[in-house]
């Protein structure tokens, strides 16, 4: 698709002129996003005597910092994994569904995006309580012997976060699967390939760009989430984003806050860069 689009795109000067359409967006982002980031970055490398990396040295030499980084990565990975395991089959089912069924599924995926994260997190608080539906269900089916609280546990956090981020896993996979010609699998079958072999050699490679972007979306969003952990797990458990927030809002420790913010930023940016590089490489063969 990208090759066709490129070959059909207007060439030379005209293409350059089209780029001007992005100016308002770039300007807006520069003012509300890039500028504060520059201040933040500057703050993290300035000490009383000007430029210094001492804040970072201090941060990385504290074992607590490493625990926070590990918390962040672990929750990010688990959330991504849950989204992948649930979202991949859903995306396939949606892409292969016909007519009204497909529309209904799409609406079911997209509509929840219009509900604010805070609302969803509060809803999960109710669901995950000791007397919440999850607990009641597990006790009722005999899996748990007595009611337990999932709220303020890592399991509860991952469940809640996965729920919020699931559409961002499903939609990119769905859009890629939808473009795969079902004849390809049939062709594989007539060549003697079993369903599993076809999945591995035809379906998976063609779906990979979608998988990569879904994983990148969910992972980068879940390592930087703030509201969800604040409401579902509380202060005892810190991730990079919550620590940043606390530093600025509660502890008035701008030095620590800007340091953790930059660490988080570097983490998120490297995920996005790595995944778009990967998607481009994989997408180049599709």
């Amino acid at each position: 698709m990208s090759a066709a689009a490129a070959s059909l795109a207007p060439t030379g000067g005209q293409k350059d002129r089209v780029a001007w359409l992005a100016v308002p967006a770039v300007g807006y982002l520069a003012i509300v996003y890039a500028l504060p980031l520059v201040f933040l970055l500057a703050r993290s490398v300035t000490g009383p005597e000007g430029f210094t990396l001492s804040l970072f040295v201090q941060f990385f030499s504290d074992p607590y910092s490493w625990r926070v980084i590990w918390n962040t990565l672990r929750i990010g990975l688990l959330t991504t994994l849950v989204c992948l395991v649930i979202g991949f089959p859903v995306a396939i089912a949606m892409a292969r569904a016909k007519g009204l069924m497909q529309v209904a599924l799409l609406v079911a995926i997209i509509l929840p995006l219009s509900i604010g994260v805070v609302v969803k997190a509060f809803a999960w608080q109710i669901v995950l309580r000791r007397d919440g539906v999850v607990s009641q269900f597990l006790v009722g089916t005999g899996i748990w012997s007595e009611p337990q609280r999932l709220l303020f546990t890592e399991t509860g956090l991952v469940l809640g976060a996965a729920n919020v981020f699931l559409p961002f896993m499903i939609l990119p996979i769905y859009s890629v699967v939808k473009l795969i010609d079902p004849r390809l699998s049939e062709a594989g079958a007539t060549l003697g390939a079993s369903p599993l072999y076809r999945f591995r050699r035809i379906f998976l490679p063609l779906t990979l760009p979608g998988l990569v972007s879904g994983i990148a979306f969910v992972f980068s969003m879940s390592v930087s989430m703030f509201v969800i952990p604040s409401l579902l797990i509380g202060d005892r458990f810190q991730m990079l984003a919550t620590l940043t927030g606390r530093s600025f809002l509660l502890m008035r420790n701008e030095a620590l806050g800007s340091t953790t913010a930059v660490v988080l930023l570097v983490l998120a940016v490297s995920i996005v860069v790595a995944s778009s590089w990967l998607a481009k490489r994989l997408g180049g063969t599709q």
Binding site: L184, E186, A187, A189, T190, L191, G192, R201, L206
Partner: protein, 361 residues
């Protein structure tokens, strides 16, 4: 290939398929001998692709059986059938190179590495694409993609090859080249093939036998010469080649299997057995007709409407309803330089007359 002597290699028995209320295949029987090249010829929507998909196992039939090489494969999934398919859209694997596409089937079957390499080399050579082995299939022309699709299907040496209008996307010149190349390839590999087309010239040129399909049934299955010279039904007659067609009523049936017919353009005789009063359709191929009267044979009179020059011969059309045209092909040209509007006599041999019950309007 004889029609009945050897037991069929592929035997499709009473295959039926309906999508909802529409019957797409109406109990199709098709027997193909080993090594034979059979074309399925028919108009769009008559069920050709559906029949192929049932044979390949990509679609299950509502009833009937598919027997290949003595084994009933009706219940087998496609990957256990050993039936290769060349899809109309080619369906090449876009993420693989030319060589990887050709190797796919062998790899899926777990063939040894050096055997795969040798086979791929051989097939790329056969389709004259060795130089493009490592090219992505997305960077190929239509004709090249088509060749890769054929090589990919043939590389696993399937018992049976099914080709669904593989040339329909190609221009005329390339099409003719590909027709010859495909026949050569199939001969070299020795594969039995069913070839779907709605191009009658393609079918007549390439096939050992042709199955003329209409509305989910095979109306006639015979060698190309028989299909052309003795169409079994009015549909087969109209679908393949040109013809002069006259409707009429039998007025008298003689003892020698000949009937006398009153047509809109005069009284003619034709071989056939019908009782007096039957409505019939009489027809004759235009190249078997001649200008002028011939004593003892059929003669009609018609008004010339149009003359088309076709290089080696001319085609003359006469005033008649569109579904019952009167046309003649002649190498000699129009006698006496007759112009449109002239009434002319046309004649042909009684024995060349084809006769059918009149099709329902």
């Amino acid at each position: 290939m004889t029609e009945t002597a050897s037991p069929a290699f592929l035997d499709v028995r009473k295959a039926a398929k309906a999508f909802g209320a529409t019957t797409v295949l109406d109990g199709v029987d098709l027997a193909v001998a080993r090594g034979e090249f059979v074309s399925l010829l028919g108009p769009s929507g008559c069920g050709k692709t559906t029949l192929l998909r049932i044979v390949a196992g990509l679609l299950s039939s509502d009833s009937g059986a598919v027997v290949l090489d003595g084994v009933d494969i009706s219940a087998k999934p496609p990957h256990h059938r050993d039936v290769g398919v060349v899809f109309q859209s080619y369906a090449l694997f876009p993420h693989l190179t030319v060589a990887e596409n050709v190797a796919f089937g062998l790899e899926a079957r777990g063939a040894p590495k050096d055997e795969i390499r040798a086979t791929v080399t051989r097939f790329l050579d056969l389709i004259h694409m060795s130089a493009l082995a490592d090219r992505s299939v997305r960077a190929l022309s239509g004709g090249q993609q088509q060749r890769v699709a054929v090589a990919r299907a043939l590389a696993v040496k399937p018992k049976l090859m099914l080709l669904d209008e593989p040339f329909s996307a190609l221009d005329r010149k390339l099409r003719e080249t590909m027709q010859i190349e495909l026949k050569r390839l199939l001969r070299e590999v020795g594969t039995t093939a069913i070839f779907v087309t709605h191009d009658q010239d393609e079918a007549l040129m390439m096939s050992d036998r042709i199955a003329v399909m209409n509305r989910g049934r095979i109306e006639q299955l015979a060698d190309p010469a028989t299909i052309y010279k003795r169409p079994a039904t009015p549909f087969a007659l109209e679908f393949v080649g040109l013809s002069t067609r006259l409707t009429g009523t039998v007025v008298e049936a003689s003892g020698e299997g000949e009937v006398l017919i009153d047509t809109t353009h005069g009284r003619i005789r034709a071989p056939g057995r019908f009782v007096a009063g039957s409505p019939v359709l009489a027809a004759v191929r235009p190249e078997l007709m001649a200008f002028g009267e011939t004593a003892g044979e059929n003669t009609i009179r018609a008004t010339l409407s149009d003359v088309v020059f076709q290089g080696s011969r001319i085609q003359a059309h006469f005033e008649a309803p569109e579904d019952r045209p009167i046309q003649i092909e002649s190498v000699a040209g129009i006698p006496g330089g007759a112009v449109p509007g002239a009434e002319m006599a046309l004649s042909w041999r009684v024995a060349d007359t084809l006769l059918y019950p009149a099709p329902a309007p």
